[in-house]
């Protein structure tokens, strides 16, 4: 009894300390093998982002489209500072777990402030693995949106109104 209990306690403590360092190698090997899509295993799955042009998103915002949900992957403080009008905040996580609070019946348009859409593409990839079918990545992301001088808004200002 004594060694068994001690072993369990020791193993639990060791796992707590070693988990972050070991997850990288583990995920890499999982990526090579394929992926489960809606519970079905797909060999050699490679996610290819479906892009939306910023001009199209601007039109959708101007026409008050109810078919899209704009998703900002920034940290909450960055999102509050400035974001695309009407966007909701869904901070980047390298390991998104179900259940996810985002709607499935609408087209999600995901963006980030990364040069090559790293965060938005990764979130879109993870959501596709969780069964989301209508996921688009905003081409050029936040930087392109700002370069085009399209409208932005701040949650802090909105709260102050």
């Amino acid at each position: 009894m004594k060694p068994t209990l001690l072993t369990v306690v020791g193993a639990a403590a060791a796992l707590c300390l070693l988990a972050p360092a070991s997850s990288f190698a583990q995920e890499k090997s999982q990526q090579k093998k394929g992926a489960f899509i809606d519970g079905e295993y797909v060999e050699d799955y490679v996610y290819v982002p479906d892009f939306m042009a910023p001009e199209d998103l601007k039109k959708a915002i101007e026409t008050h489209s109810k078919d899209i949900v704009i998703v900002d992957t920034a940290a909450p403080a960055v999102f509050e500072d400035e974001h695309i009008p009407g966007a909701i905040n869904f901070p980047y996580d390298s390991d998104i777990k179900a259940p996810v609070s985002l709607p499935r019946e609408k087209t999600l348009v995901i963006y980030c402030a990364c040069k090559d859409h790293e965060d938005s593409s990764d979130v879109a990839r993870q959501l596709s693995l969780l069964g989301y079918r209508n996921v688009k990545v905003l081409k050029g992301g936040w930087f392109k949106w700002v370069d085009l001088k399209y409208q932005t808004e701040s949650s802090e200002k909105k709260d102050g109104k």
Partner: protein, 184 residues
Amino acid sequence: MRRNHWWAVALFGTALVGIGAYAADVVSGLAIGATTQTIPVTDVTGQYKGEKICYVCDFDKAPDVLAFFRDTSDATAKQIVALNELYVKNKSRNFKAVAMVIAGESSKKWLEDLNRSTHLEIPLTYFTKGPKDVANRVYNLNPGVANTFLVTVNRKVVANISDIGPEEFGRVADAADQMLAGVK
């Protein structure tokens, strides 16, 4: 049986206190296990020179060191040079590093001069809005400390070392070595 049980509980409690004390050591920056978030900075010497760029995204899941420096000083210069040496030593293993000066645009010329005199390979950047930049809050940077080093892999923090002098940089190098030893 009863005595064995209490001994195990005490051991487990000690382990939890140890983990808690480790977390309490974080005086600046993100805690171990936290996800690193997007922070656009202004690039002074890197491949995106003159542009706003998020090196956290650019490095993506690669093993890296995110180094934040409160301001420009001789101590900061020594640590940036040491960070560059660490990068040169490990770049073949996909290791990345970036130096970010919190002081803002006022540090631009100093960073350019440092790069010119020491021929650094790592990007030197500054917080676009200086000490008021939202990145300070995102990364929980303590305004009272001179520097914060986050050793990360797979977008998770595996070591946090802050407010150290140049002579203590070995702690950052050791943490990076330990991380790289676990990356296949």
